[in-house]
Symmetry: C2
């Protein structure tokens, strides 16, 4: 098997230079780089790193499983995760699991076979039976039954803040709009915070939810507006920004003015600029921090460390828009 | 070195079952899967695929270089590229190059060293000197000077369609708003199509551009509105949706009504739903098709095929919104 020295000799450079090319050091002349790469190819030389990974079965790659990279929340998350991994010398492998269990299981197998060093994932499948304690996986938002470390925004505080801000904006009776999932998720805490704050503040409230398996946007809101006739809600906390925007769109058809008649707060903070309206008032997920902390925790797990916590909850902030 | 047979014996299953686990076949019981993975770990067995890649220096991984996955156009593109690669048995490695040449060069080195099978990239750096003919790279939008295959939307037709639609909507004099880059890109053809259609239709037109190195949104539009006092433009073609939205935002401050006073058409089609306004009239990039074709062409290059064309231009469609 050819050695680093063989490559250096063929390329007519020093061993250090070959190493710099392999490790992508910026200070290598284009010419030199080309000569070294040509020598690597000619000798069919396997760079140290690959050889080392091969022997030690350690990969410098982390898989990110997302339902869909197309969604603005997930693409922002992926942006910061890649940035943080890059700083630590890791590459990112991206998978849109799209809720497909076979795709998710595929990555678990890759992890078991050491083709990836770890997984950061948002998964809505019930794959927890296949996951062992202390395996290098970090779950975002989704709360596993077993000992999977979870990084999430402080959903409970978010629910409390939302009620508070709705009341401050003048709402006298509030409603929580949600879409539930069959798997337990930390998102449920948005509702819990909402209820407890409404109770503390002694305002009337309404909980309106439907399961994602049967969710149809038209039926959902028709039923809600029927229900609302007896309640006269003047403040809405929708558990995602998308749902908040859908409510506002439907409310228009009923002649409801936002924010004059009803104040609306969403959750996520997906809007990137102020060019498209309505600019939602929202509980902003600390996406950058969630991404960086997830990577840091994952790499500690990769190194075999035991983590102190099972759930890391990152503080949220309220962002004022045009809907309160 | 342990063999597949050793793993099968230790796990107490057949060789076919081990192979199914390694290749993530869905029809394997959870129990069996766990037993096989445990045996792989215990024996430190290197799955065939890894061993094969190691020997043949072939990777089943494709790198995608994007300026930022956070941008809605790029995240849609990444979504479809991952889907298409998955169907072909390839994994996606994602890199936000953010215009950083060192990061882009790093991936070129990985390609030269066969750590990835190919690269699909949108790069705004001038890295063409480092790129050889027939190397498995597909460029999207960006047109390399050398023999890099490029997949792009039909920018020229897009420019022509825009002028046509503006006139149909009642515009009598049109302007092209653009931001130019120091590297030549296919995007320039949007302007060319615009000019030639305006000439054919014998309408007055204005070209207004600034370089991205000095672009400042406030100055850009202040100067444009000053210029416009002598021209009285009633139709705008902005060469991206973002620029169109920025124009509309600024126009409001000048008391210009869209679309009553000025009709506006953008380029990209980044809006995913009809919940946020204005819904832009736009030339929609055929993102899904561009993604799938890029993958297909790249894999043909990986197999050593020579491609017929250097540039593949995919037809665009006009999408009517609220701004014309």
């Amino acid at each position: 098997m050819p050695s680093l020295k063989d490559v250096a000799e063929l390329a007519g450079v020093g061993v250090g230079t070959v190493s710099r090319v392999i490790n992508s050091h910026p200070n290598v002349k284009v010419n030199t780089r080309e000569k070294v790469n040509a020598a690597i190819k000619q000798l069919n030389y396997i760079p140290n790193e690959v050889a080392r990974n091969f022997k030690m079965q350690k990969s410098k790659m982390v898989a990110l499983l997302l339902p869909s990279i197309w969604h603005p929340f997930f693409s922002e998350l992926a942006y910061y995760i890649e940035e943080e991994l890059d700083q630590e010398g890791y590459k990112l492998m991206l998978c849109n699991s799209g809720g497909r269990p076979d795709k998710e299981l595929n990555y678990l197998d890759m992890l078991n076979q050491n083709k990836v060093a770890g997984i950061i994932g948002i998964t809505y499948n019930d794959i927890e039976d296949k996951v062992n304690t202390d395996i290098p996986i970090i779950s975002i938002d989704r709360h596993f039954g077993k000992d999977i470390t979870c990084v999430t925004s402080d959903n409970y505080r978010g629910g409390r803040i939302a009620v508070n801000e709705l009341i401050k904006a003048g709402a006298e009776s509030v409603a929580y709009l949600g879409i539930t999932s069959s798997v337990y998720s930390e998102v449920e805490l948005r509702k819990k915070g909402f209820i407890e704050e409404a109770n503390d503040q002694q305002v009337e409230y309404l909980i309106y939810e439907e399961n994602d398996a049967v969710f149809d946007v038209d039926t959902y809101f028709e039923n809600f507006f029927k229900l609302n006739e007896q309640h006269d809600v003047s403040g809405i906390f929708a558990n995602t920004d998308l749902l908040a925007a859908q409510y506002i769109d439907k409310a228009k058809q009923y002649g409801i003015r936002i924010p004059e008649d009803v104040k609306v707060i969403g959750y996520d903070g997906i809007q990137q600029n102020k060019l498209f309206h309505p600019i939602l008032s929202t509980i902003r997920q600390p996406v950058e921090e969630m991404a960086r902390i997830s990577v840091k925790l994952l790499l500690r797990k990769v190194e075999g460390e035991k983590l102190e916590e099972k759930i890391y909850r990152i503080p949220v902030l309220y962002r004022d828009g045009e809907t309160t």
